[in-house]
């Protein structure tokens, strides 16, 4: 039996638009437009849109997992339950990484560890290979632990040797997140053949087309005189960038921003790339 809705009927079920903080400057980069008197005012959401499923993609070593962990820590520290599905890194390694990062972020790790539930799919073939088994396990954790945010690092790991099924698998997990009302982050890797600055991820454009928004992390190796002149960085160094590629739930800053990964692995988004280049030109 198929149902149809009058638009009005959906009003009460429509999610409210507000932000779920990531603990980075990304929180100021999503916004909403509100009418104040006669004029429209742009207001930062303060995080990624509530109930959105955001895809973090980039080539290796761009900081995708760090950003996902920083989001989980920020939410757990604020008292919200987070489900962290680790597909690549075993749970005990994740624990060490999160502990160090929490200390670096100055948050109370005891609070963080009690608010994060981890599904370790890295060491269980069945959880990794059988989406239904994984989703049932996730449903169990979400219901039992009253989870509101879910991170899957990485969704690519769930279809890495069957990329033809990427679309089907991503769609299933996306629908799952909607059904269980989760604000989610999917980490997805790029194949070396894919242009590093695009939203495309392993499995083709499947991930980016299905999810609500994509954030692309990229790195640029300074390797020519031209690069040195343009970016004002020494040869051999790395310039990292981050960009919201699209989001169907809320408007966002479309610019490419420069970010740094601190020694202890936290992400600091600093200035827009164009400003970074202009400043470096002025300094030269």
């Amino acid at each position: 039996m198929y149902r149809y809705y009058e638009l009005k009927e959906l009003e009460s079920r429509a999610p409210k638009l507000f932000g779920i903080p990531t603990g980075t400057k990304l929180d100021d980069m999503f916004f909403k437009i509100e009418k104040e008197g006669d004029r429209y005012v742009k207001k930062p959401l303060g995080g990624i849109p509530h109930l959105a499923v955001i895809n973090l993609t980039g080539v290796p070593d761009t900081g995708k997992s760090l950003l996902a962990e920083q989001f989980a820590i920020t939410q757990a520290n604020a008292g919200y339950k987070v489900l962290y599905v680790t597909v690549e890194s075993p749970a005990n390694f994740l624990y060490t990484a999160m502990k160090q990062r929490s200390e670096a972020m100055g948050v109370d790790f005891s609070k963080v560890e009690s608010n994060i539930v981890v599904i370790d799919a890295s060491e269980s073939d069945e959880l990794r290979e059988n989406p239904k088994a994984l989703m049932e396990t996730m449903a169990y954790a979400i219901k039992e632990k009253k989870v509101t945010n879910t991170v899957i690092d990485s969704i690519t790991g769930l279809y890495e040797h069957k990329e033809v099924m990427a679309r089907q698998i991503v769609r299933q997990f996306y629908n799952f997140m909607k059904r269980y009302r989760q604000t989610g982050v999917f980490v997805s890797q790029k194949r070396s053949a894919q242009a590093s600055e695009t939203a495309e991820a392993a499995g083709g454009l499947a991930v980016a087309h299905i999810v609500d928004g994509t954030i692309v992390l990229d790195k640029k190796l300074i390797e020519s005189r031209w690069d040195v002149k343009l970016y004002g960085l020494p040869i051999g160094s790395v310039l990292r960038t981050i960009r919201i590629d699209g989001c169907r739930i809320a408007p966002h800053d479309p610019r490419t921003w420069v970010f740094e990964i601190s020694e202890i692995g936290t992400i600091e988004i600093t200035v827009p790339l164009d400003e970074f280049i202009r400043k470096s030109a002025e300094e030269q």
Binding site: E113, V118, D120, P131, K132, A133, E136, Y140
Partner: protein
């Protein structure tokens, strides 16, 4: 302290689901008894295999190669099962086709059974098991014994048929013969039989 780590899958059981598809397939064929009439005993292993393939393909999203390796069959067989045309198989079983279709017969039946279970939401519902102790507490153990004794009996059933099957039983201190004396006939179904007995207790 530490994170709570869930390292093993929870929920979902491929074996259980395949069993359900298998039994539903037999039901589709008209029941186990009817299967004997087909005089083709190779069907049962074939149906079991098809039930597994259909469940693995639809519920676990495994590739044909993975399914073939898991079940020890060829990739082509797995593919034939999943792509079998259910309509053609039905027509063949109902005698509408003179020649056996090229489709995988058991595959077609298993696919139909899977779809029916899925539509009715019966595929992954958990079964509840009631043990003897709980039956005693609920005072329903007599019902289980009655059902066991009338298994295979054609309904509607007459008093004589029921006395023949149930004779000698004592329910809550009363002879079944006395109870059967009190109820109306014919009894249309096992459920009606239980209901009528209950009213007399």
């Amino acid at each position: 302290m530490g994170f709570e780590v869930i390292a093993r899958p929870k929920g979902g059981n491929v074996d259980k689901m395949a069993e359900k598809v298998f039994y539903e397939s037999i039901k589709l064929l008209g029941g186990l008894r009817r299967l004997i009439e087909f005089r083709n005993l190779t069907w049962l292993p074939s149906l079991a295999e098809a039930a597994y393939v259909v469940v693995l393909k639809n519920e676990t999203l495994k590739t044909y190669g993975e399914i073939a390796r898991e079940l020890g069959i060829t990739e082509q067989t797995a593919k034939n099962i999943v792509t079998a045309d259910e309509e053609e198989v039905i027509k063949y079983l109902e005698g509408e086709l003179e020649e056996r279709p090229k489709d995988h017969i058991a595959g077609g039946i298993a696919k139909m059974a899977y779809r029916r279970l899925k539509e009715e939401g019966k595929l992954d519902t958990e079964e509840i098991e009631i043990r003897q102790e709980e039956m005693n507490v609920l005072d329903i153990d007599w019902a289980v014994h009655v059902l066991a004794k009338v298994r295979g009996l054609d309904f509607p059933a007459s008093r004589e048929e029921l006395v023949e099957r149930l004779g000698g039983m004592i329910i809550k201190g009363r002879k079944i013969e006395d109870i059967l004396e009190m109820i109306e006939y014919p009894v249309k179904s096992p459920a009606e039989l239980l209901h009528k007995i209950k009213l007399q207790l």
